[in-house]
């Protein structure tokens, strides 16, 4: 685990309820988690387990019902550029070019010379030199996601949150992008939290894998992945960890009626 001078993200006793017309739904229950500076943390869970809600609360788009999130020693209340987010859909503004989309990520007070330097650096970082003037619809899904990553990193956030960022990509592009994100993480040393339903992806990228259970969303297990990078998906230890995580999900489907309501 690489450690740099960044700040840790700590989540304590976090719970979240949604009110819908049939009553309340417990999305997250008593989440306690500490993410070390520079760590790559993967979160896996079936769809609907609240893992995306957790990211949305960390980034400030949703608010918690109870509990607390601290970034360093500052409580997280609202969205801020100290946390970057990459969504499943790249969410690039279709009317802006690649450069302008990345520049949109910059703080408004950034002077324009500084802004264009940052944009250039980040276009290089994600390997899109030559596509500065292209519009999002002219790019492939993988390239759009690269722009989205560049936009999220342009402010040098303390934490980068990735919400199933490769879910919409084809298998080949996905593996390619996983390697890219790993390379970016190693160069930028940003703390990253990845939410995914792909167990292989979680193990391939993460220093630790958080396994979440379904309704109510809780942390079931945290599996450390102490394998050297780059990791080999067919490696014996890799397969053992995958088996361990798979078991967690099979166990859960054996009692399908364990709902909170």
């Amino acid at each position: 685990m690489s450690v740099n001078s960044g700040q840790a993200l700590s989540i304590s006793r976090l719970s979240k309820q949604f009110t819908i017309n049939t009553g309340t739904v417990q999305a997250l229950t008593d989440i306690n988690l500490r993410v070390e500076p520079g760590e790559f943390l993967s979160i896996v869970g079936a769809s609907g387990c609240g893992k995306s809600t957790l990211l949305r609360i960390i980034v400030g788009l949703d608010s918690e019902s109870s509990g607390e999130i601290l970034l360093g020693d500052q409580p997280v209340r609202k969205p801020g550029v100290d946390r970057g987010m990459v969504f499943q859909e790249a969410r690039l503004l279709p009317w802006l070019t690649v450069s302008d989309n990345i520049a949109f990520g910059c703080r408004s007070e950034t002077p324009s010379a500084e802004r264009s330097r940052l944009v250039r650096e980040h276009i290089e970082l994600v390997g899109l030199v030559g596509f500065e003037k292209a519009y999002p619809h002219q790019l492939s899904g993988g390239m759009q996601q690269r722009v989205s990553i560049a936009r999220a990193l342009v402010n040098c956030p303390k934490v980068l949150l990735l919400d199933e960022p490769f879910g919409a990509l084809d298998a080949m592009t996905r593996i390619n992008m996983q390697q890219e994100v790993l390379r970016i993480w190693e160069t930028e040393k940003t703390t990253m939290i990845l939410v995914t339903h792909d167990i292989d992806e979680a193990i391939y990228l993460g220093d630790r894998v958080v396994v979440m259970s379904n309704r109510p969303g809780t942390i079931k297990k945290i599996v450390p992945v102490q394998l050297p990078r780059p990791r080999d998906r067919s490696d014996y230890d890799f397969v053992q960890i995958r088996k361990e995580i798979y078991t967690e999900f099979f166990e859960q489907t054996n009692k399908p009626f364990a709902y909170a309501i």
Binding site: V59, G60, L61, P79, G80, V81, R83, G84, M85, F87, E89, R91, L93, P94, W95, L96, F104, G105, R107, S108, Y135, P136, H137, N155
Partner: protein, 277 residues
């Protein structure tokens, strides 16, 4: 007959371009693509011409296309047609600018603020169904028969489609983009200018296209009732003199001008909305 073909040959291909937003996908033979839209009007012209020549249609009621073409050409050469068209177009430009600008501002306010919408819901609901022509006598009473009343009619006509489409465009802003702006701590002004308005732009353009179409129709309507120049006036005056050919030249030039305006707006839209494929 020869020049009839050249005439239609000049404007029909534009109609073909206008009716295709995207590039044609299923066209395999390009010849058919350009000839097919020409076929029906040319056949109609031929039948019309033949019926007139045989005396089945009275030329005093409906002159043959060749006569209309000659009158059109004469009026074009003498500058009379352009004079009337310019007067009408100038009124459209003034009235449409006022009406669409007002529609844009009101639309943005309604689209952004539910309070403004609540405040205006009754008054817009009441005023919107009133036909533009119904305003003409009222406005003449208020403003007299000069330019002001006609420009106001055009402004009212173009106000509504712009307003409705601006509101629609703003309402339909994808929440996902708004979230992106929130994450990057953008203020309300940046959110409006960088996210909400650009995403509403295709819809705003639809409003502008419908609005300018209605503006063009309103000007003719207003001129039919009270004017001393303009295409509408030209048609009314020709009716008094029983000049059926001049009337038809007026009617057809209204159509051609409308087509050209729409074409110009589409070209502008294609240029400004490169990203919207």
């Amino acid at each position: 007959m020869d020049y009839i073909d050249t005439n239609t040959g000049n404007d029909i291909p534009e109609a073909a371009v206008i009716s295709e937003k995207a590039q044609p996908v299923t066209i395999t033979r390009r010849g058919g693509y350009f000839l097919l839209p020409l076929f029906v009007p040319v056949m109609l012209l031929v039948i019309w011409e033949l019926l007139s020549r045989k005396g089945i249609i009275k030329p005093t009621i409906l002159p043959p296309p060749s006569d209309i073409w000659l009158v059109f050409f004469d009026m074009l050469k003498s500058g009379e047609l352009l004079k009337h068209l310019t007067v009408s177009l100038w009124r459209v430009i003034k009235g449409f600018s006022a009406g669409s600008l007002l529609g844009l501002v009101t639309g943005v306010l309604i689209g952004l603020s539910p309070r403004v919408e609540r405040a205006l819901v009754l008054i817009t609901g009441l005023l919107r169904p009133i036909p533009i022509i119904a305003w003409v006598p009222v406005l003449i009473l208020w403003m007299g028969i000069d330019e002001a009343s006609k420009i106001t009619v055009i402004a009212i006509g173009s106000f509504w489609p712009v307003l409705l489409n601006v509101v629609h465009g703003i309402r339909n802003t994808d929440k996902k983009y708004v979230e992106v702006a929130t994450i990057f701590e953008k203020n309300r002004w940046t959110l409006l200018t960088k996210v909400v308005l650009p995403s509403a732009l295709p819809s705003i353009f639809t409003g502008i296209r419908i609005g300018i179409g209605i503006a063009w129709m309103s000007v003719v309507g207003a001129e039919l009732i009270a004017a001393s120049a303009g295409v509408g006036y030209m048609i009314m005056y020709a009716r008094e003199l029983s000049q059926a050919d001049v009337m038809l030249v007026g009617v057809i030039s209204i159509g051609i001008t409308g087509l050209l305006i729409d074409y110009a707006i589409r070209r502008l839209e294609a240029r400004l909305l490169k990203w919207n494929i």
